[in-house]
Symmetry: C2
Subunit: 113 residues, 2 copies
DNA sequence: TGCACATATCAACATATGTTCAATCAAAGA
DNA sequence: TCTTTGATTGAACATATGTTGATATGTGCA
């Protein structure tokens, strides 16, 4: 036993409750589809209606709407109605940071593979 | 037309290349499974061998190994061999931040739903 | 070399996911 | 009220994903 370089009990990480893990996993999974991630990336720059999101991502509206539904369910985005339009935006700055973080990490600039 | 409160071209977000989006989505997806996320959470506190990871997450070794393979493929973890053991750890501090961020966000403390 | 331990891989299966088009709902204006 | 426009929902389908137990690899030691 005894560890070969392990940094056990180093940072006092309270193990997250199962429900937290599940919600967090749901969020990651929702962002874990290239097409949905493209939507999230777009929303980094502001609020858009479904038709715009569809156009800018080259998808049918119903497809965009389905993708937005998943993002909404997992609390990655919020929406508001304005007349016939529905505007979607990132849920909060936390999500903003998350998206930027992962896009940044995936950038080859980080040459960490 | 014209926007109803939209914050277009606000933050100069360079649209990420397709390949970056895909890699980023792969990372999110890899973390987007509750069981794999539990492994990542465990690794927040250090380096562990497969047998320990299996034991602590209540899984068979072959199951743990499969899960680790996915995490490895998406560059969320790294590994090193020490004798017969294989030690896994988070790939870098970027991943550490990502995991903490999402677990934090999923915490009900944030009451943002 | 032969055995034992730690991991990894394979293949088969059940389940989950994403897409699509048609149908429906909701708001606005004639 | 009827029509138009924007958005959502439903159902069917193809594809992807996660799990499992058997098998293989790989390392250390006798």
């Amino acid at each position: 036993m005894s560890d070969s370089g392990g940094a056990r009990d180093s940072a006092h990480v309270a193990p997250a409750a199962q429900s937290i893990i599940e919600r967090a996993a749901g969020m990651l999974q929702a962002g874990g589809d290239p097409e949905r991630l493209r939507i999230l990336e777009l929303l980094l720059s502001g609020e858009y209606r479904v038709s715009e999101i569809a156009a800018r991502t080259g998808a049918e509206m119903s497809t965009a709407s389905q993708r937005l539904r998943v993002l909404l369910q997992e609390n990655l985005v919020k929406r508001r109605r304005a007349g016939r339009d529905m505007f979607y935006r990132l849920a909060d700055c936390h999500v903003d940071k998350l998206i930027r973080n992962v896009l940044d990490h995936a950038d080859p600039k980080h040459l960490d593979d």
